[in-house]
Every structure is written in structure tokens, then in C-alpha cells.
């Protein structure tokens, strides 16, 4: 049971990277970016090719961030410069990436056990060599996700980050500030897709494989994680406990968790739900229906925006 908890937590953490990306586009920019379904396998494809060619495992992280940002740039340019509707811009990128991913990887690709991944690389072994592989996967994913979360939180406070948030909330304000909305959107899309590709990269390290179909449904996953996480955190932030803490000096930081924290919680909770459903013997054919039902339930019960303290 403990093992299952460790591997489910690991999955939740790794997929939180994708949810961060979806959080930026869907929640902050108000841009439903279907390109995610193509960017996720893109990160995995690049990683699988680099790993099989003997590249340094850590270099694949940078490479997938870069190609992901390029994919975001593509969606951004299609939407902003060519004036294609946001939903369609994402669909175009997603469709194009399916071919591009296969061009990159050839076909589905497996990385053999002899090849080092970030979970077995010398640096990881020197730090956490005493742990089992399963525990190492959890620790490394946790460090990565927390690192990304902290960097994102810091970024949201910079001028560029504040502008990003303004575009989704009050686009007029950005124009009043004499800033180009289009450029801000493109930056947001690049950041989001870079994170999604990073997620694909880590999944490839963890699964030692790339498959052309692995991207299917990732946007839905990310959305579900974001909405579950944010709804729960809003519930928590509105609770008497959080209200009391908000008045109590140092504790006030705990009272209003950051959106990124909510996303991590949502991702983990969602993976736990899927694992629980699998363990309960729910037939695989019913899984998507159960996902849709859970998704709808959370959306309806959370009453959408309402008096939300954290953005969803």
C-alpha cells in the first residue's frame, strides 16, 4: 500500500508540471490551449531521442523546455499574428505536432535500462543513492516540481508576470499601460508549453518510452487537476480556520495558498482518484466516463468563479 502511495504521488507530482502549463493558459490567460496534447509528447520525443543517442540526462530537461517554448511560440503566432481563434490555434499546433513528433522519434521509441535517466544519473545517485528507485523517483520529482513552483511564484510577481495576469483579467488595462497584449499572450503560451514539454520529458525518463499517442487527453487531465485543486483551495481559503489564520501575522501565508500549490494538490488528488478507481476494479472502458463525471461534478459544485479567492 505504501508503494502504491509513493508511485501515485510521483505520478501526481510529474503531471503537476503539465497542470502548471494549463494553469497559465487556461486560468491566467483565459486561453484554452489544445496544443498541450501535442507539446506533451513533443517533450517526450525529444527526450527519448537524446537519451538513446547518449545525451546527458539533465540536458534533456533544457532541450524539452526549449522545444516546448517553440511550440508555444507557434500557437501564439498563429493566434496573435494570423488572428486565428485561440481554440483553433491550439488545434492546429496539436495536429502539426503529431507529425513532427513522429518525425523526431521515427516511431514509438523505448529507452533501454542501461541508459541513465535523471533518476539514475550520477548526480542523483550521489545524493540519494541509498534510496530505492521508486523512492528516488518521488524525491527527484518533488524537488523538480517545488523548484518550478517557486520560480513560477517569483515570476508572477515580476512586471512581466503581472502583465500576464492582467491580460486574462482585464485586457483593456494592458493596452492602457501601453503594452502589447499579443506579445504578453505569446510569452504566456511559450512559458506554458515549455512546462508541458518538461512534463513530457520527465514522463519519458520515468517510463523510459515515448509513444505517439501519449498526449491524448493531457489537456483534459491538466484542466481537471487545475479545477479540482483551485476549487479545493478556495474552499479551504474561505474556511473559518483560514480566516482566523489570515488575521494572525506570520500564519497568514498559510491561509491563502498560491495557485501553484493548488495545482499540485489537484494533480495529486486526481491521480489518486484514478488509481483508486483502478484498484476498485473499475473497467478501463469506463475510466474516461468516470473522469468526465468527476470533472463535471467538481465544476458544478465549485460554482465556477463566484467569490473565488484564488483564480480558476
Amino acid at each position: 500500500m505504501l508503494d502504491l502511495l509513493i508511485s501515485t504521488l510521483t505520478q501526481g507530482l510529474i503531471y503537476a508540471l503539465i497542470s502548471f502549463g494549463v494553469y497559465i493558459t487556461y486560468s491566467i490567460l483565459d486561453f484554452p490551449d489544445l496544443g498541450v496534447d501535442g507539446t506533451f509528447p513533443l517533450g517526450a520525443a525529444v527526450t527519448a531521442v537524446l537519451l538513446t543517442r547518449g545525451a546527458d540526462p539533465w540536458a534533456t530537461l533544457a532541450a524539452s523546455l526549449a522545444v516546448g517554448a517553440l511550440a508555444g511560440l507557434l500557437t501564439g503566432v498563429i493566434h496573435v499574428a494570423l488572428r486565428v481563434r485561440n481554440l483553433l490555434a491550439g488545434i492546429i499546433t496539436m495536429t502539426a505536432l503529431f507529425s513532427i513528433n513522429l518525425q523526431i522519434a521515427g516511431s514509438n521509441l523505448t529507452v533501454d535500462r542501461g541508459t541513465d535517466t535523471i533518476f539514475t544519473a550520477p548526480l542523483t545517485m550521489s545524493l540519494f543513492g541509498g534510496l530505492t528507485l521508486m523512492q528516488r523517483k518521488l524525491v527527484v520529482s518533488l524537488i523538480l516540481v517545488v523548484l518550478v513552483k517557486v520560480l513560477l511564484d517569483l515570476y508572477f510577481r515580476t512586471k512581466s508576470g503581472l502583465l500576464l495576469r492582467a491580460v486574462g483579467d482585464n485586457a483593456g488595462l494592458v493596452t492602457t499601460l501601453a503594452k502589447n497584449r499579443g506579445v504578453v499572450k505569446v510569452v504566456g503560451l511559450m512559458l506554458s508549453n515549455a512546462l508541458v514539454a518538461l512534463g513530457g520529458c520527465i514522463v519519458c525518463h520515468e517510463q523510459r518510452s515515448f509513444s505517439a499517442t501519449m498526449g491524448t487527453g493531457q489537456l483534459v487531465y491538466g484542466l481537471a487537476a487545475v479545477i479540482i485543486g483551485v476549487s479545493l483551495m478556495n474552499f479551504y481559503a474561505a474556511s473559518p480556520l483560514a480566516r482566523a489564520m489570515r488575521g494572525a501575522g506570520a500564519l497568514r501565508y498559510l491561509a491563502t495558498p498560491a495557485g501553484t500549490t493548488a495545482v499540485i494538490a489537484g494533480s495529486i488528488l486526481y491521480k489518486i482518484c484514478i488509481q483508486a478507481a483502478l484498484n476498485a476494479g473499475l473497467p478501463a472502458n469506463m475510466m474516461k466516463l468516470a473522469t468526465a463525471a468527476l470533472f463535471l461534478l467538481v465544476l458544478v459544485l465549485s460554482g465556477r468563479k463566484g467569490e473565488a479567492i484564488i483564480h480558476a
Binding site: M1, D3, L4, L5, I6, S7, T8, Q11, F98, S99, L102, S107, N108, T110, V111, D112, R113, T132, L133, M134, E206, Q207, R208, S209, S211, A212, T213, M214, G217, Y221, I228, S231, L232, N234, F235, A238, L269, K271, I272, C273, I274, Q275, A276, A277, L278, N279, A280, G281, P283, A284, N285, M287, K288, L294, L297, V298, L301, S302, G303, G306
Partner: protein, 336 residues
């Protein structure tokens, strides 16, 4: 108020699901059948199948028969946990991990993606993995480590020979395949390599999803191919009925890659029997489970025997008669 309802509902959902999970997990491994040898340890096998598919189902059935043939009795010597990923890679991953967490004695991966997911999940605990229904285990990097199994590599030469005998004047064979399925890509290469020896040229059309298959069939019909030959390509086999509708109208015979396809309406096939493949896999698994051999001792196996399955009704409709050289060597698919 709404928020409280949300929280309660989510909590209830999670709790019910985990509660069910626990219950199942504790009852499966230690539920000795009456009269069974209750003292003996029962092997727990985790079977991960990539999706619902007649050939893959046959593999699983055969696998269980193979275990029984090796003298292992279900409920006495072993229990199994069968999970199906519904063709979803992410679910396949979680299935593998849940098997690893349950500390199963052996994982079985049916079809490439499930086998790869099991192998990744088994790495930590070095749980042996047995695969089946994989065309090219070497390309999938499943040929070394604590893993072995059976390959469903198609008897391509036998198929080419069969087509030559049934259609002496045919020149072009049309094949539809999915570009992302390594199994299909490697089989297409073999077809192209060997087609010349039998006087054929191959007209291969690649697709990326099931939705494109019928269009690819139209393309091949427009190219005036003399016949179609199928691979064990999941996307293509999944819409075989729609392909057959088009080819029957155009009067083009379609050759299957295994018996289920011939039952569905292909004219003939030099194909393997997936139940037989499953049995062979089950026998290998029994050796590994009982400690008679380790995966490292057992190189992966291909099935060497194939049968020539025919569908007389469809052959008649296409005006093809069985030449004397083949008389008595064919098996009617409905009877198989």
C-alpha cells in the same frame, strides 16, 4: 454551502474508491479455495492488456490455458489480477505501478505499450515480466533484463506465397499501416524486402489514426491494387469491417493476418493462432514462476507454426479457387 457540498462529495468519492481498493487488495492474494493446499504460497500474477481486441483477448485466454497445462491451478497455485488499459498509455503506466505496489510475483504485458509500462514499473523490484503479442521485442528494447515472452511476428513469406498461389496474376499488394506502430513499420519493411522474390510490388499507405483508415483504403482501391494484405495493426484491424465493405464492392480480395480477420470476411491468411501463442507464453511464465528458469535463461520465442486459414464463402465471391497444391493444407476459419 456549495463549497461544503463540493468538499463532502469529493471526500466521499475518494474514500469510497480507496475503500473498495483496499478490500479487493486484501482478498485477492490470500483467498485459498476450499480443498486447496492452503499452506502453500499462491503466486499472484498481474496481467496488463493494452485494450479490448479479439487477438489480445485470445492471448490472455491462451496464457491462462498455458499455466493450467503446466500444472498450475487457478485459485490453488495462482491468482491473477487482470487490468485493461483501454488503449490509454497513462492508464497502462498506472496499472504497471499498481502491480508493482501489490508485489505481484509476475507481470504479464499483452501488446507492446503495456509490456513497456510493466517493464518500467518492475525495474525497481526486479519483478519478472512476460510479454506477448509484440512483433519486434528487439526494437522495443524488451530483449534483455528480467523479461521474456513471445513475439507475434507475422509469417510474411508464407503470406506472400499464399497470395501468389491464390492469385497467380496479381502484381500489386496494397497495405495500410499506422506509422507510429513500430510493429507495423518493421513488418512493412519485411514485406518490401521480400515482395520482389514472389513477383509483387507493395503499395503501402501510412495512417496516423483510425479515422484515416477508410480514406487510405479508398486510395489503394483508386491505385488499382490487386489485393489488400493486413498486418496486425490495431488501427486497421479495428475498422476492418468498413474496409471490407469498400473492397467487396470493388471486387478486391483482402488477406488477413490472423484467424479472427478471416472469420470477419477476409479471404485467407497465413496467420498465427493467438490462443496458441498465449499457451506458449503461459508455459514460459510457469517456468519462471516456479523457479525452474529465470527470464534471462529463456530467450523470447516466436511461433514457428502457422496455419493457412480460408473463408470459402469469400473466396467464392471473389471467384478464387483453391489450387491443388494447397488442397488439404487449409483450414476453414469458422471451424478454427
Amino acid at each position: 454551502m456549495k463549497k461544503i457540498r463540493l468538499f463532502a462529495a469529493l471526500l466521499a468519492l475518494t474514500l469510497t474508491l480507496t475503500a473498495c481498493g483496499k478490500e479487493q487488495e486484501t482478498t485477492t492474494p490470500d483467498a485459498p479455495e476450499d480443498g486447496g493446499d492452503a499452506q502453500k504460497e499462491m503466486y499472484v500474477i498481474g496481467i496488463s492488456q493494452y485494450g479490448e481486441h479479439a487477438s489480445l483477448d485470445n492471448c490472455r485466454e491462451g496464457f491462462l490455458q498455458g499455466l493450467e497445462q503446466a500444472g498450475l491451478v487457478e485459485g490453488v497455485d495462482f491468482t491473477y489480477d487482470y487490468q485493461n488499459a483501454g488503449f490509454d498509455d497513462n492508464i497502462a503506466t498506472q496499472i504497471g505501478q499498481s502491480f508493482s505496489a501489490q508485489d505481484v510475483d509476475l507481470m504479464v504485458g499483452i501488446a507492446t505499450n503495456s509490456a513497456v509500462a510493466c517493464f518500467a514499473a518492475a525495474e525497481d523490484k526486479d519483478i519478472p515480466v512476460i510479454f506477448t503479442a509484440i512483433t519486434d521485442p528487439v526494437q522495443a528494447k524488451l530483449d534483455s533484463g528480467n523479461i521474456t515472452g513471445t513475439s507475434d511476428k507475422l509469417p510474411v513469406e508464407a503470406q506472400l506465397d499464399l497470395i501468389r498461389q491464390l492469385q497467380p496474376n496479381a502484381k500489386t499488394i496494397g497495405i495500410i499501416y499506422t506509422t507510429s506502430e513500430p510493429n507495423s513499420v518493421s513488418t512493412i519493411e519485411e514485406y518490401q524486402e521480400k515482395a520482389g522474390d514472389y513477383g509483387f510490388t507493395i503499395d503501402a499507405v501510412g495512417v496516423t489514426s483510425q479515422a484515416e483508415v477508410t480514406q487510405a483504403a479508398d486510395t489503394l482501391i483508386a491505385h488499382d491494387v490487386d489485393c489488400f494484405s493486413n498486418l496486425t495493426d490495431n488501427n486497421v484491424v479495428g475498422v476492418l469491417a468498413a474496409i471490407l465493405e469498400k473492397t467487396n464492392e470493388a471486387g478486391i480480395p483482402v488477406y488477413g493476418s490472423e484467424v479472427e480477420q478471416v472469420k470477419l470476411g477476409c479471404v485467407a491468411s497465413a496467420g498465427i493462432d493467438y490462443v496458441q501463442l498465449g499457451i506458449q507464453t503461459g508455459l514460459m511464465a510457469a517456468k519462471v514462476l516456479t523457479g525452474k528458469a529465470s527470464c534471462a535463461d529463456l530467450p523470447y520465442e516466436t511461433i514457428s507454426e502457422y496455419s493457412l486459414y480460408i473463408n470459402s464463402q469469400e473466396l467464392d465471391a471473389m471467384g478464387i479457387s483453391i489450387p491443388e497444391a494447397l488442397a488439404g493444407k487449409t483450414v476453414e476459419a469458422d471451424a478454427a
